[in-house]
């Protein structure tokens, strides 16, 4: 009989091994899945796990996907660590893209390159504004931040649609729902000619370092985490839960907005109804798979990006639906949650329970006699 036995201490080794184990199980289930779909599993795995990293160009494409995921996941990790459940990063991402897009549209042919800074700043502010609504409603009216942040995603989506179908539509765009193509000056600078990889990667890496310092070396970050781990201890210490709420939401909103700005002025170059690509939701998985740790989010974001690219390749190469991406992402999260059990428990083989060497004696001799 298999038996779970509580460990006296959570296992450090297992907390590192668990994501790897989860990945292995995901791969195994993936093989079964490819076989059931009648495809060569080796080909399928190749498309998902080798193709996205096999060349410099592929890596550059990977970075395009991974950068927004890392940025958003960093903010969410802070939020989740302080027990604030912002699941509307997608909406903050959209509004960030909108604000950045508006700023970019102000640029003309002879605007300085430094407008990029303003574009990104507008993105940050947009995301903060959208998350700030959540914080305000929670703070003033105790509205549930999970619901509010989620519903604001759809509001943001509607605002985007309204703008690109209406006031911001490109007059020379043959009536397509899209804005003008942003001026060249607003383009996020690329790192290497010919590849789409841009300075967003550097910003993301710097942000990882910044968030690590914030979480583990500043009193403010410490306060946020205490508030998440033990709200009563936080109140005892006198840390303000209001300020934690605002800090967490504004930080994560700002990061999602920054990612939106980088996306709008980077690979997209204009606003269309297809700005929301699900990064905001995928980043929730990235944050958890990365153990809500800034460095961990790099690895999990790369993995999730491979699934994105793999899904697209599976569509064109193997004739499989693109939704395979979501299947893999979901599988990874579920198997990770299951494997995490092993951090606190160990599995033991146990023969039939070692009962005392006596046979049970029937109890009827002393039956309950009611008063």
């Amino acid at each position: 009989m298999l038996k779970l036995e509580a460990r006296p201490q959570p296992s450090k080794a297992m907390s590192f091994a668990s994501p790897l184990l989860a990945l292995a199980i995901t791969v195994v289930i993936g093989i079964v899945l490819f076989m059931l779909l009648g495809k060569d599993p080796l080909k399928g795995l190749y498309v998902f796990f080798i193709e996205p990293i096999k060349s410099g160009y592929a890596l550059s494409e990977l970075s395009i996907k991974a950068t927004p995921l890392v940025l958003i996941a960093l903010g969410l990790a802070v939020c989740f660590r302080s027990n604030i459940w912002n699941i509307g990063a997608e909406g903050q991402f959209i509004v960030g893209a909108l604000c950045a897009g508006w700023m970019a549209m102000q640029a003309g042919p002879d605007t300085s390159r430094f407008i990029v800074v303003l574009v990104l700043l507008a993105g940050v502010l947009g995301g903060m504004l959208w998350a700030g609504i959540v914080a305000l409603l929670r703070d003033r009216f105790n509205a549930n931040e999970i619901l509010v942040s989620l519903m604001l995603v759809y509001v943001a989506d509607m605002v985007l649609s309204y703008l690109v179908y209406g006031p911001w539509k490109d007059p020379q765009g043959y009536n397509f729902p899209q804005t003008i193509t942003f001026a060249a000056a607003t383009k996020i600078p690329r790192l290497i000619d010919g590849w789409r990889m841009n300075i967003g990667v550097l910003i993301a890496l710097a942000a990882v370092a910044g968030f690590w310092v914030f979480l583990f070396r500043t009193y403010r970050g410490y306060q946020l985490q205490v508030g998440g781990l033990a709200p009563l201890a936080s109140r005892y210490a006198g840390f303000s839960s209001r300020s934690a709420l605002w800090t967490g939401l504004l930080l994560s909103g700002g990061m999602a907005g920054l990612a939106g700005g980088l996306e709008a002025a980077g690979p997209l170059g204009q606003l269309t109804p297809h700005v929301p690509a699900g990064y905001g939701f995928a980043a929730i998985i990235v944050a958890f798979v990365g153990r809500l740790h800034p460095v961990g989010s790099i690895f999990s974001a790369v993995l999730m990006s491979m699934f994105y690219i793999g899904g697209e390749l599976a569509q064109s190469r193997l004739g499989l639906p693109k939704s395979l991406t979501g299947v893999f992402q979901g599988l990874l999260l579920f198997t990770l949650l299951a494997c995490d059990t092993l951090i606190h428990y160990r599995v033991r083989w146990q023969s039939v329970p070692a009962a005392p060497s006596v046979k049970p004696v029937a109890a009827p001799t002393q039956k309950i006699r009611e008063a």
Binding site: T218, A233, G238, A363, R369, E370
Partner: protein, 504 residues
Amino acid sequence: MTPRLELLGISKQYPAVKANDAVSLRVMPGQIHAVLGENGAGKSTLMKIIYGAVRPDEGEIRWNGQPVLVRNPHEARGLGISMVFQHFSLFDTLSAAENVWLGLDKTMPLADVIERIRKVSHEYGLDVDPLRPVHTLSVGERQRVEIVRALLTKPQLLILDEPTSVLTPQAVEKLFVTLRQLAREGCSILYISHKLDEIRSLCHHCTVLRGGKVTGEVDPTKESNASLSRLMIGAEPPQLQHREAKLGDVALEVKGLSLAKQSPFGTTLAEIALQVRAGEIVGVAGVSGNGQQEFMAALSGEDPRAPRGSIRLFGTDIAHMSPRHRRRLGLHFVPEERLGRGAVPTLSLAQNTLLTRTECVGRQSGWIDVAGVARQAEELIRRFNVKAGGPDAAAKSLSGGNLQKFIVGREIDARPKLLIVSQPTWGVDVGAAAQIRAELLKLRDAGCALLIVSEELDELFEISDRLVVIAQGRVSPSVPVREATVEMIGEWMSGLWAKETAHA
């Protein structure tokens, strides 16, 4: 005579600790049998084994001479074993009778249950109104409901786990009368406690546990407190030195503190007035749930709703200040919940130091000096004799007593001007408790004002200079410990002090 219950070589191994190591025990019919031991000595595990909630690795249980396997509490009750737990399992919104009904055979109509409760409570002098909702009952009354519930099954063995920790001295006497009557009628009683006086006055026989092993089988009526505690902890607790108080300025002045309750089952505070001077210890006695929690939250700043001017620290109005602000002015507080309030369970001791101590945080930058914090925690561990893996050990990996030493140490080390401690030695073993009390006295002698809330009267009499009683959200006038008696404080605990003060 066949023993009612016999345990032979019971052992239970948990991952980190051997909770019971070849424990043998024999309870005769009609015997009140004490199981004495410190926290962590294995008393609870042993009782859970008897009650079928935990399965032993080795050993044999004999019930009226027959070997039995008790697989779950249901089977235990079938045999005639009943248990009254330390933490009651009653639903607040149901009446006493409905609560009892829940645990009984469902075929019996509620009216019959009410009838039986009346009969049993009359027979044993257990004053219970079956129709009252549980949330309106005092803790003592709730315990009586639990005991009545146990008695309705006509048990042959009744297990009581630390039953007196929530009772006034008078209620304890009443409980003992009931228990003696039960024993006379042939019911065996297993009485778990760490209170030596009670065991000596109530029990016929005493089995002492230490570290999961039986260290003694004695007749408690023939033993002294000192000899029992030697068996229990392997040493006598050190005697405390209580010097005359050197009174200083008024440190804490509470006046007209009234606060509406925040939860339906909380207590409303009414017109509390209290003074604590530097260099003295004022003890707050009372049965739990009489407003201690609410009073402490108002003093610590966790509940900032206190009316302006109602709480003053050395003359400064602090009623509206946050806990951090109060701490900066010299008011430190040790809450009764160690895990989750006084410390974050999953964080290390070093990180838990930061909860109330910010010497290692940059004033402007908010930067944490990680090495400095580790040194600070290490110093606390050394100075207060905390048994821990080091500053990196998670708070939850420490035993209750050691974590309490750490938390009390953390606040003492901050050199407070006023230290408020709630339940300083709750669930703490005797050795650690003695050390904590000695540290508190040392702090008093250094000129700090102390306010200590405790449910253990012995403790308050041992360390306090003055005593007040809290009952139903009101606080009594203070009385010097020299002039106080247990009887008088016990009476005050039920809220009856108006007369005393009228002619005082």
